[in-house]
Assembly symmetry: C2
DNA sequence: TAGATTGTTAATCGATTAACAATC
DNA sequence: TAGATTGTTAATCGATTAACAATC
């Protein structure tokens, strides 16, 4: 079905298109255009059409796209037309914020466990479910087979956690620790690095004066 | 000084190189190579040399790079050789996590205010300083002239906040709300979107079966 | 000198943009 | 038909990779 490689940036834009379509649908809008999608996702109309064209022709010339059907198509492509189990390792402030983030639930992600090694945190309840000791990682993975793990532990601990997750059969890792994780394919890692983004901004501000 | 455009991805990698050099420095390592930097930042040696070459030749052929001097050079390029004031708008879990994140302090970012509109949150102290009502945004900006603002309010409120920040003279925005913000140049916005990253992973897992 | 590693050029690869025929 | 908007091709632009002379 996939005959050539699809750019990573295309996939990320599809996620944004998809969520915009969801908004339109909830607002009762039934038809839209590549231009409208672009305006509301920071893209361009040509880009939107190109991104969609990797997967097929889903619109009607002269008319546009049906919100409902395009939304369903994108959901299928992205794999958000099903539920995914995720776990969070590290019950610090960020781990808690992510565990309780409603945006994930709304997109079909179910949190099946949050872990920490700090005995003061273990047992504390969040949303009625207790924080578990990281010792129990393997047992919980056995039971719920989460596909995705979010790592919010300190940088030094992140690789160790990643290794164990791989052993547990976790297939994807979203890493918030500022480290480069080594995992064997086909396990995948995405890094979310706040500092990189902040420092990109400082660079921009400094270089404003140089141009 | 800047005669041609430097790729955004180069700047983001420089931030990672810089933080790796900081680690090396603290570990007492004095000399490194493009290969070593690459291995520890998920880059390649050619990429590292190319990224640096946009700004000059900072190494010694046959030898490598002096950790201390390269770190200082990168700090200057990125603008992290000075302090930056930042504010956080939205004292939800994510806003709190970011406000208290030590990684920012370590890189010279100083939090000069955290705001919320919820009267139950306003006045509550974090790190000895109270959460302020968003009404006081303009007054605080007047006093501390923050260069950077982190937006962690709900999506619906984000554009309104951004408009006010622009009015306050804030020059850069790091936006965590899942919306596209419109700001007039030269104000800059970076979006950090957790969901995009999660859905990129789900896409990867689904498409594994298709290749 | 022999070995190592940079800085830089040229080749390759990939993504974006522009343009327009197709078609409702 | 006139107007609108898609799907697709070709042109452009930009980033990565490979390779190697320069140089310690």
């Amino acid at each position: 079905m996939k005959y050539f490689r699809i750019p990573d940036v295309t996939i990320m834009r599809l996620s944004m298109y998809s969520r915009y379509l969801d908004r339109l649908q909830k607002a009762g809008v039934t038809v839209t255009s590549s231009q409208d999608i672009a305006d509301n996702t920071g893209s361009t109309s040509a880009q939107v059409r190109k991104d969609l064209a990797y997967f097929g022709g889903f619109g009607v010339r002269g008319v546009g796209y049906t919100v409902k059907s395009l939304y369903e198509i994108l959901s299928g492509i992205l794999g958000v037309d099903r539920d995914w189990n995720l776990i969070v390792i590290g019950a610090g402030r960020l781990g808690m914020a992510l565990s309780l983030y409603q945006g994930f639930n709304r997109r079909g992600f179910t949190n099946v466990g949050i872990f920490d090694v700090d005995p003061r945190k273990v047992g504390r309840k969040i949303q009625g479910r207790p924080i578990l000791h990281t010792d129990r990682l393997e047992a919980v993975c056995e039971e719920h087979s989460p596909d995705i793990a979010l790592i919010t532990v300190p940088a030094e601990a992140a690789q160790g956690v990643a290794d164990r997750l791989v052993g547990c059969g976790v297939r994807s890792i979203l890493n918030f620790a500022p480290t480069v994780l080594q995992v064997p394919p086909p396990v995948r890692v995405r890094n979310v690095d706040f500092t990189v983004n902040l420092e990109f901004l400082t660079y921009s501000m400094v270089s404003d004066f140089l141009e």
